[in-house]
């Protein structure tokens, strides 16, 4: 395969900078790939296409982590409708109110400073 000029992580973060949650699509496997890679973990092919998620998903697993100092916070795993899963958190609700099966939507979080933006989720309102 050819030399990589822009790393998968750089491209992923470029999408996030524009407010988009991106993932890869493997045409040889016919399924989504996440986290972004240089080859497909299902077929070994280096043909991977970038796609932008519609941002809708379902909570697959959830916990509330209690630091020694500071408030407890949510850590969750989200199954996106496009068929990939990622670690994130659900905001706008109490951490213990996050439930498996809850429908959620993507929101960009900009931590500020030198930290790059990352995807978080909020509960999807009924009927939205």
């Amino acid at each position: 395969m050819e030399r990589v000029d822009t790393s998968p992580l750089t491209i992923y973060q470029q999408y996030l900078d524009r407010g988009e949650l991106a993932y890869q699509w493997s045409p040889t496997a016919g399924r989504a790939v996440f986290y972004p890679r240089v080859i497909c973990p299902f077929t070994g092919s280096d043909r991977l296409e970038w796609r932008v998620s519609a941002g809708l998903g379902t909570v697959y697993a959830t916990t509330v982590t209690h630091p020694r100092d500071g408030a407890p916070y949510n850590v969750a795993m989200i199954d996106m409708d496009e068929g990939f899963r990622l670690m994130s958190r659900v905001e706008d609700v109490a951490p213990e109110a996050v439930k498996i099966g809850m429908r959620v939507k993507f929101r960009l979080h900009r931590p500020g400073g030198d930290e790059p933006p990352y995807p978080v989720f909020t509960p999807l309102e009924e009927g939205a």
Binding site: T65, H66, M77, R85, S88, P111, P116
Partner: protein
């Protein structure tokens, strides 16, 4: 495991190093060397007999070099495979292969950690993962908590059932003179302890101790001429499913399903034939997952299985008879201690916690965040 021959090699010497909180300035390699000395005494072999050196620790980048230099040996066979706490079960298979092929005649597997003395952050540096670290998972606890959340959701497993695992481990630990924990524990005490990552309180989570040890293996033929009854390697199996928890295919099914099947097939045994289980209990959910995946109950029934003292002393199935990572010791990569306890049970050396008529044992290792699973089935002389 294809190529490994049932009973071709045996564990002949086992020993722990100092455990718990060791002397200041002791190094991980000091503890390995102390374990090697004691394990040699256990089997009657000499340092010069060792020509296979296998070790792992999170505290030395090239531990094979460090330990060989320390011991003053230049071994013919070296392996420093490191896959987390299950590394030592992988080592047993590698040692058996090396012994079968004649790459070495006597192999030692060694481990050491001073994580309690120097602090866990210094003992095991976490790698930055741009897809996980921003969410501040408290690893490994958060990862196992996510798995527990899924088990509770799918199968109705309760916090009380998780706590029953911790209580059983404590009851066994009270019968082990070298166990870290010395006081009884109840289910309400587990539930009321400090919350770490829901559903786990600090009592659902393994200890943070120092410790190390060594296991010596040789061919079955040579094993029969040594001091103590051999613990023959009847079966080995291994499976890796992921590295990071966000890439685990199904949080309720571990690689123990595959590693167990391989080990049973090689051993020509099934779950009903096993007399004692030593399962890597980094968290209370582990014991439940491994009882299911290793075939001691159906998937989803592990919570109910551990209720009412079934795996505690006096229960129907003896599990984690040394008190486990939850109550005996957990220096970070605990797998070696499962092999030590399984061997001692087969020899009948376990005093108050000895399992009657113990001829077969499982030592099941877990590494990373349910990432690497490796099963070793050991048997006493009557099984070969």
């Amino acid at each position: 495991m294809n190529g490994l021959v049932r009973g071709s090699a045996a564990i002949v010497g086992v020993a722990e190093s100092d455990l718990g909180a060791v002397a200041a300035e002791m190094s991980a390699i000091d503890l390995m060397a102390q374990g090697v000395r004691r394990a040699l005494d256990d089997c009657g072999l000499a340092l010069k007999d060792i020509d296979g050196l296998i070790c792992a620790t999170a505290q030395a980048r090239t531990s094979g070099l460090s330990l060989a230099e320390y011991l003053g040996i230049s071994p013919a066979f070296i392996d420093t495979t490191i896959l987390g706490g299950s590394s030592f079960m992988f080592h047993v298979a590698h040692a058996q292969a090396a012994l079968q092929l004649g790459l070495c005649k006597v192999a030692v597997i060694a481990y050491g950690s001073t994580q309690r003395t120097i602090g866990r952050r210094h003992a095991s540096v976490r790698e930055y993962n741009p897809y996980e670290t921003p969410f501040r998972p408290f690893l490994p606890s958060t990862a196992y908590a996510l798995a527990a959340s899924r088990h509770m959701h799918q199968f109705g497993t309760t916090r009380e059932q998780l706590a029953a695992v911790a209580v059983a481990a404590r009851q066994w630990a009270l019968k082990n003179p070298v166990a870290w924990e010395k006081k009884p524990l109840t289910i309400p005490e587990v539930l009321a302890a400090r919350m770490i990552s829901y559903p786990f309180t600090v009592r659902d989570i393994c200890l943070v101790t120092d410790g190390g040890g060594a296991v010596i293996m040789t061919t079955a033929e040579r094993a029969r001429s040594l001091k103590k009854p051999p613990a023959y390697v009847l079966g080995c199996g291994q499976a890796i499913t992921h590295a990071n928890i966000s890439s685990m295919p199904d949080l309720t099914v571990t690689g123990a399903l595959a590693s167990g099947r391989q080990a049973y097939e090689m051993a020509k045994l099934e779950p009903a034939d096993i007399d004692v289980l030593e399962l890597y209990d980094a968290f209370t959910i582990n014991t439940i997952l491994f009882l299911e995946d290793l075939g001691f109950c159906q998937k989803g029934e592990g919570g109910a299985f551990v209720e009412n003292g079934r795996i505690a002393p006096g229960g129907v199935l003896p599990v984690n008879t040394n008190g486990g990572g939850l109550s005996y010791c957990h220096p970070g990569m605990y797998g070696l201690f499962l092999l030590i306890e399984a061997t001692r049970q087969l020899r009948g050396e376990c005093g108050e916690r000895q399992v009657a008529k113990c001829e077969t044992a499982i030592a099941h290792g877990n590494g990373g965040v349910l990432s690497s699973q490796a099963t070793v089935i050991l048997g006493a002389s009557a099984t070969v």
